[in-house]
């Protein structure tokens, strides 16, 4: 595997706040990543630093093996679609696309034109006057049509309805298949992107708490439901990340793939197993580390 991005001991502080806390990771070439985490977890800080739009407090960042700061060789191969991208006041969509075309060597005008039609983007309206969804469409079109070797999408879907989001996901997979490249997709709509991302990176409180192949975590956790005593007997010795009870019925989420033998024991004990989606797994894992953090601080 070739890495296109290497980050070592990266830290970003804003006055008293630590946004990124000594993280080390690598991004492999031609893989679609999901960069997931709560608001304020540090996702945008990391992406801004990797695209040289912000400075690291300390640590080392290499993009294509080079320092990205004021480095035209690197930056023309990287596209960053920001959630809050600013455009000049009088700019209309064609101006934004023409600028992108000059900047990105792999730009596809054909793909751009097709996406403009599919997203039904008004080309004669000033970008300032576009709706939130149309503004997002401008970013998505630039991100896809630039065919940059590394493309960051920071919550690119704001204001896009379900149909437009599906269009984005479908075109992303389609164009990625024809023109493989590295994509880092930051999103809160985890279940929507779960099947598109090959690897998942989860950031929580400025630290990376998950860096894995998405398919490998699909059976990583399970929720066991049934009589509390029977559930407790089964989950004893396993890592519990969530527990809910109602009367004498408990629903407990445990980490660990269930073996055929486990399933047999569950059947015999009359317990039910519910699958845990990537979204639920991340929510539970994040809550779990939050609780551990609060308890650690209280001690």
């Amino acid at each position: 595997m070739t890495s296109v991005i290497e980050v070592e001991h990266l830290t970003k502080r804003y006055r008293d706040t630590i946004a990124v806390d000594d993280i080390t990771f690598a991004i492999e070439k031609d893989v679609i990543y999901g960069l997931l985490g709560r608001n304020g977890a540090g996702k945008t800080s990391v992406m801004s630093i990797l695209t040289a739009q912000n400075f690291a407090t300390s640590g080392d960042v290499r993009v294509f093996g080079e320092d990205p700061y004021e480095n035209g060789r690197v930056l023309s191969r990287v596209c960053f679609v920001r959630e809050s991208q600013k455009y000049p006041d009088d700019a209309k969509p064609p101006h934004a696309f023409a600028t992108a075309r000059l900047f990105f060597p792999n730009w596809s005008q054909e793909l751009c034109d097709r996406l403009v039609a599919e997203f039904e983007l008004p080309m004669r309206t000033r970008i300032k006057k576009l709706s939130r969804g149309q503004l997002s469409a401008v970013g998505v079109i630039i991100g896809l049509a630039s065919r940059a070797e590394i493309t960051f999408f920071d919550e690119p879907y704001l204001g896009l309805d379900a149909v437009a989001r599906q269009l984005f996901y479908d075109r992303l997979v389609e164009d990625y298949t024809a023109h493989p490249r590295t994509v880092i997709l930051s999103s809160h709509l985890i279940d929507e992107v779960a099947n598109l991302i090959e690897r998942v990176l989860v950031i929580d409180h400025g630290r990376i708490i998950m860096d894995e192949e998405t398919d490998a975590v699909r059976d990583r956790a399970a929720t066991i439901v049934g009589d509390t005593a029977a559930v407790d007997a089964f989950v004893a010795g396993r890592e519990v990340i969530h527990r809910e009870s109602l009367g004498h019925v408990s629903s407990v989420t445990v980490i660990g793939t269930l073996s055929p033998d486990d399933r047999r024991r569950l059947g015999e004990a009359g317990l039910e197993v519910a699958p845990v989606s990537l979204q639920q797994l991340i929510v539970r894992t994040t809550q779990h580390t939050d609780t551990a953090r609060t308890e650690g601080a209280a001690r």
Binding site: V173, L196, I197, T214, D219, E268, P275
Partner: protein, 129 residues
């Protein structure tokens, strides 16, 4: 179509296997490509490729350079033998466990299975036609 809680590459491989077992994908016929599977199930192409590679490793499908993927001769028999073992583990074992508790022997089970098969046969064939 896609279930939560199980790796996608396994589900993709099983969907192709199911088509071979039920005969809709004949031996020597062209199998769906990685890209077709990725587009149809709306999943990452690398994950679809992992499922396809698993089938290649098993000898269920093979690649013809420059043309595509094809179902290998003998693939159906291979899969049926594999599924038979899985069936025994997943369904027959628990059935036998429960039968032992109830004191049912092999003859009693055979009798029960024949009764139910006749009943469900009449159910599906009877009013529907």
């Amino acid at each position: 179509m896609i279930e939560e809680g199980r790796p996608l590459f396994l589900q993709i491989a099983e969907s192709v296997e199911d088509s071979i077992i039920d005969g809709s994908l004949a031996e020597e016929a062209q199998a769906p490509s990685t890209n077709e599977l990725a587009a149809f199930y709306r999943i990452n192409p690398a994950t679809a490729a992992k499922g396809v590679n698993m089938l290649v490793d098993k000898g269920v499908i093979h690649k013809r350079r420059g043309i595509g993927m094809f179902v290998s001769p003998g693939a159906r028999d291979l899969l049926l033998a594999e599924r038979r073992t899985v069936f025994a583990d997943r369904f027959v074992e628990p059935l036998l466990d429960e039968a032992r508790k109830l004191g049912l022997g092999a003859d009693d089970l055979g009798q029960l299975i024949r009764e139910r098969m006749t009943a469900s046969h009449t159910d599906t064939e009877g009013p529907a036609r």
